[in-house]
Point group: C2
């Protein structure tokens, strides 16, 4: 049945590439950094702009608060990085926030974090791609003119790539990420050099615009609120910091220390880039507004609806390098590419989290096994669909999407850090060694501060952004939470129902005899094979069963039976209404009534075909009958397959599908090694 | 798997009513007439109008040709009725046109007739419902203002009724049909009495309009062509005449004679009503035009787009009874109802034809068995979807839809009559008795004339209507023909492939031993049941097989195995990539390699659940594995079901679905009686 739903996908996506098995390669730090940090590093492409944008509500004079907001973001970043360095050491298994919250705070907290992360993955795709399109658009105007279309086009492209099983490779990440980081640093250094040493006056394209403040002369509480909102927006720079804590097993040894070092490097790079861009934006006179068409004035006149507000990073690049120069275009392209890679990380993280949640029975069981392509595909399509919907609803406007983004991240930060405090408390209770105790107390202090600070930010984000869109993210979390709770409850109920009793009971008692019944419609190869297999099974009785749907065909069957001298008795059931299922079910039930302690084994010859449309032409009655027989107690149903020539097609397809590996293996690290095949137990 | 696709249907339609089994009731003539004749009788609601409409192209003066056209239709009707009386006697099995063409002219002719009939069913729905809406609209203006919406609404309603399994009942047909027939006769008699005896001047609502002829003073060839077109349109009165020849088994004895008599009565009623309505239309000055907004003038000015052209039957009723009177509304309502019943006959005929075509392997095999609700439902949805599409494209305009209608009917008339000529030729060749020979020669003459006349009409219809829409019907026929040919070719190829050899060959030879492998993930009731069933099967070797996806779970399984002292060896396969399918398949293949002459029996414990969403949570890995195992030669796959409590829901649903009977049973007649259960053969 997977075949039917698979077909449209296969038509679009083609057959999966045959990829070699995952080599047991571990990541050196220089590769791990771009693999894990494309998401947080890429966020400097939009976070600084969001800060200026919010401040502009109080007029351009409020821009002088931006260094202070940058400072707050830097402090927060260092706090979060320091906190996660503790996580990395305490949970080298790569458990991530879900495991930390689940283990230390209980399943509800764990499920809350999981819901937050799932929402977060969707928003990572939506925000990163929208921002990437905006960055690309400052070099290629066509893209920004067809923003929604381009954004959804790229989502579709990434989805197809991931469905097809393009493997994540370290190099693929490394080149654009390093180009991007280098580009930003060159821009900062060259800008500083031109401004401070050469004394050039660099002007951003928007430097000659004025801002019409929405609220003139904000003060007191209103001003504090605005600054908090600006800070919340700046916090977008922290999204994705937790990724490394999930990926510890992928690092080279010493895993935890390397992961912690990479985390620190990432934090340092991110804050430097963030502050540098804010500084250059102030120096080059970048002007940004929430509703530019209306609030930006050129010579006292609003710029109007045709105005396109470019991201702050490209405006700064235009000022420093010059608009349209090689470096400008290179940086815009690298920025867009890194943002698309950041979106791609969500495609890899989503199935990984799904597999962990499936292990805890919050999601369908089959997500737990790797390489289950169908389950993986469904997850990817869900992720892409939700992201595309958001992009469409919010017009691929990264500013509006960011309002939704930060809630989930900080829910997971806060709960994870609280969980870590509990973790240290528990370990301290059993630890006597004073040196170790001192170390744990220090770690606990860091995590406690982290929990306090991220919790505070969460409150700030909720208060300042709730009506701007954070409620959508919360609603998404509630939906995920409820769905997973229901699934878990179902699995628990079933587990209770099927738990094996300690004393054998009725339904477990060994039946005494088996009646085998082979269903027959004509004498052909599939029937003969089913008969010969049934005979070798040595059941206590064996008969062939046919339903008289067409008198002529039944007569032909009887004649052929006699002519061939088949040594199995043939029973023909009459069916005045040309039904098949009912007479067979009635007959099986009558056998059961005659000897209730016995089992009836129904053997069905089945055609194995290669194309989905052939399914419509074969086996339908058999399938219907089979699904009805399964409801009848004391029955076992045996399919004896007959492989038609066309089944070769499906066999080849199944094989190539088996060779497929889910993307995201690089960051997951290799599975623990075990003996190749273990010996029988008893 | 039927469950998933079934759900949306079930939500809409609810559970099928429990209906008692078809009583062995045969139809008396007075009930058979309305059951079979609602289609041809209802066509007098639109056919007369179509004649006037075409004639109006040459101006109102051309209306005086209408009695001659009516005469031609009457002659044609008698010819067709006389011809089909021969069919009814020669084929009392109710084979219909398909059987006649197939038997006498070969499978290509048969398939052509089948394609024509399938197209015809779609058009019966589209035309009858559009015309019904127009008739209802002359009493209830709202309906005609939202014509397309109402027509599609009624299609949906009929579809739901038929999917739910509302049984056709003779009475349901009898009342509206007799009310309609009586109403039309009263109208004709009362109109004649008022006009001829009382000398009243009756005026149709359109009597004071003028017609602006599109072509003034048509003459010669153009005029002949126009008259032929008008005649073609009038032939719409003949659609559905063949229905009785399909339903002979439903008649009381003597079946053939009663059917022939009913056919004659139907023909007589139809032509009387047809001529009466044309006569009254001329007497009351009805004016109709192809494009009324433009071609109908009131005081020299076109009536404009707001004008609604009512059907001729309601215009006549308004003149005879008075607009809005009780009789007027009653007749309009009865007309609409009979037209909707006529549409419903297509819902009944479609699956009947489908089942015959399935028997000849032109359609999926499962259509052949009765009461296969899913197959029936798919056919009904296809029919309704195609009809709704046509209604939507043609704006529920019966005049435009009729252009498509008549081609299919006359293709099937003509081929059927040619087939009958061949039939008599064949029988005459072997018949010596002069009395019988004389009878056959007479029958042959009638059929030959029928073939000639209907063939002539077919040519006329094709020539006059091709560009007006007949090409759409032909295209539909080609599509049906091609699809059915492909299906037949597939079945033939498979039949060749699986034909049993006379000498036993490799794949038929009895294998020597069976290795049984029970798949196990945990020790719970389903597993224990599968183990106990497998043990009683007495295969040559038996082992339990588990895949190590999660080390902790595998350890728990081994411990439990030992603790319970289960006397079946447990083998655990390692799976470093957490796959399930691949290790099992590899293992099964290795067993086969070791002993190629043996069979491997894989026993899978399966959960039986009640709701479709539970399917997503259970058995997915098992199903995937099963479908892969079926590709492996020398394997049989046994499901041991474990019925969860929730499966009761599905069981009840399956039972109530089993009690459902396909609509159309009344006209199909009872199936031939056989002994309740026959004895074993050998």
């Amino acid at each position: 049945m997977s075949k039917l739903t698979d077909v449209p996908k296969r038509i679009l996506i083609g057959r999966a590439l045959r990829s070699d098995r995952l080599g047991e390669t571990l990541l050196p730090k220089r590769i791990a950094l771009p693999v894990f940090a494309s998401d947080p590093l890429s966020s400097v492409a939009y976070a600084p702009g969001e800060v200026l944008l919010v401040l502009s509500i109080a007029g351009v004079s409020a821009y002088h608060f931006s260094p202070w907001i940058a400072l707050a973001v830097v402090v927060l970043m260092f706090t979060v990085v320091a906190s996660y360095r503790q996580n990395v050491h305490a949970y080298p298994s790569g458990g991530g926030d879900y495991e930390v919250a689940n283990t230390n705070l209980g399943p509800r907290a764990g499920l809350t974090v999981a819901s937050a992360l799932l929402v977060d993955y969707v928003l990572t795709v939506a925000v990163s791609i929208s921002s990437g399109v905006e960055n690309l658009g400052s070099a290629v105007p066509f893209v920004v003119e067809h923003k929604v279309l381009c954004a959804i086009g790229i989502i579709v492209l990434l989805t197809l790539m991931n469905l097809r099983g393009v493997r994540e490779s370290g190099k693929l990440f490394a080149i654009p990420t390093y180009v991007f980081v280098a580009g930003v640093f060159i821009m900062i250094v060259w800008g500083a050099f031109r401004g401070l040493v050469l004394g050039d006056t660099m002007s951003a394209p928007t430097a000659d615009l004025e801002i019409a403040p929405e609220h003139q002369g904000l003060a007191g509480f209103a001003m504090v609120f605005l600054l908090l909102r600006a800070f919340s927006s700046g916090c977008a720079a922290l999204t994705g910091v937790e990724a490394i804590s999930n990926g510890v097993p992928a690092f080279r040894k010493p895993k935890s220390r390397n992961a912690a070092t990479t985390l620190a490097m990432m934090g340092l790079l991110a804050v430097t880039m963030f502050c540098g861009i804010i500084g250059l934006a102030l120096a080059t006179g970048v002007r940004m507004a929430e509703t530019p068409a209306h609030d930006l004035l050129r010579d006292g006149v609003p710029v109007g609806d045709g105005y396109v507000q470019n991201p702050v990073i490209t405006q700064v690049a235009a000022a420093v390098f010059g608009d349209g120069t090689f470096f400008f275009v290179l940086l815009a392209a690298a920025t867009a590419l890194v943002l698309f890679l950041a979106a791609n990380t969500a495609y890899n993280g989503f199935p990984l989290l799904g597999s962990i949640l499936a292990q805890d029975r919050y999601l369908p069981r089959q997500l737990h096994t790797r390489g289950d392509r169908l389950a993986f595909s469904n997850g990817i399509v869900l992720l892409a669909g939700a992201a595309a919907l958001l992009v469409w609803i919010y017009g691929a406007d990264s500013t509006r999407l960011i309002q939704l983004y930060i809630v989930g991240v900080f829910v997971s930060f806060t709960l994870s850090q609280i969980g870590m405090v509990r973790h240290w408390n528990r370990h301290l209770a059993g630890e006597k060694d004073p040196a170790r105790r001192r170390h744990m107390v220090r770690s606990r202090a860091i995590n406690a501060f982290g929990a306090f600070f991220t919790g505070l930010v969460l409150v700030v984000v909720l208060v300042t952004k709730f009506s701007h869109g954070a409620w959508v993210a919360l609603l998404g979390m509630v939906i995920f939470y409820a769905t997973m709770s229901v699934i878990r409850r179902h699995y628990d109920r079933v587990a209770d129902e099927i738990a094996a009793p300690d004393e054998p009971q009725d339904d477990v008692v060994r039946p005494s005899r088996v009646h085998s019944v082979v269903l027959v419609s004509k004498v052909h190869r599939p029937t003969l094979r089913a008969l010969s297999y049934a005979k070798v099974m040595r059941s206590h009785t064996l008969e062939a069963l046919s339903v008289n749907v067409d008198a002529a065909e039944t007569k032909a069957l009887r004649d052929e039976w006699v002519r061939r001298g088949i040594d199995v008795p043939l029973k023909v059931l009459d069916s005045p209404y040309r039904e098949i299922t009912r007479p067979v079910i009635e007959y099986v039930k009558s056998l059961r009534r005659e000897s209730p302690r016995d089992v009836v084994s129904v053997v069905i010859p089945e055609y194995v075909v290669g194309h989905w449309y052939e399914h419509l032409l074969h086996n339908q009655s058999a399938l219907r009958l089979k699904s009805r027989l399964l409801f009848t107690p004391g029955v076992m149903v045996t399919s004896v397959p007959y492989q038609l020539e066309s089944s070769e097609v499906a066999k080849r397809r199944a094989r190539s599908r088996q060779d497929w590996h889910a993307p995201g293996t690089v960051r997951r690290g290799p599975a623990p090694q075990r003996d190749k095949e273990s010996s029988p137990t008893s």
